[in-house]
Symmetry: C2
Subunit: 127 residues, 2 copies
């Protein structure tokens, strides 16, 4: 379907805190530029540029209504982020499992040195 000319990618688009706040705002409802910029300490033009970047990444859609341009959230491109993230989940899940095992073991033995126990279980000890 409508593949936008990817000048900006999603990762870059959400890197800026202001843009993340804009997305959050637009999650509530569609709104025109002036209203959006009313929520920020920067100029309307600056917000407009952020919106362009978000639009380039496909995270926002615009629609003209009279003399105003209303923007709304378009969340689908975030699926790419989710996919990217999924790859790494196993890493921290493994870490959490290690911690869980440790806590359970400690519950039973209620004696050993915490750090020593973690040291033993930790798999990263080459050399």
């Amino acid at each position: 379907m409508a593949v936008p000319s990817q000048k900006h990618d999603v990762f870059q688009a959400i890197a800026d805190p202001t843009r993340r706040q804009v997305l959050q705002l637009l999650g509530e409802q569609e709104m025109p530029v002036t209203v959006i910029s009313g929520h920020f300490p920067i100029s309307r033009t600056a917000v407009s540029k952020h919106l362009r970047i978000l639009a380039d990444a496909g995270l926002v859609k615009e629609r003209k209504v009279g003399r105003e341009t209303r923007y709304r959230l378009e969340a689908e491109p975030l699926m790419e982020l989710k996919r990217w993230l999924a790859y790494y989940e196993r890493y921290w899940e493994n870490k959490l499992n290690v911690l869980k095992r440790f806590v359970e073991a400690d519950d039973e033995t209620s004696g050993g040195n915490s750090f020593a126990a973690l040291e033993i279980v930790d798999p990263n000890q080459p050399e």
Copy 2:
């Protein structure tokens, strides 16, 4: 590549494609700077700076072994990303549900205008 000792956040850290590739590399195994930089067309020093930024964001941990510094992936900080993302999942899931409903309806009626059907279901129609 200004590398202030200030904390870099995760969003910013993963914004750069090179840094994402570095993370992926380190996902396979711990490795020293020279080996890492061997996978990229940029200088060792440049890679070193990327590693610093990743370390500031907590995405990477370093360990000195002899004359080399080995880096390894540290995925936990990505949980912040996951939490951020979770907020937006409902949006695209809703979109997908709308599409699903539309497809199912079309299966049954096999006649209506696609766009008209979507228009009716779409909730964003103020004015």
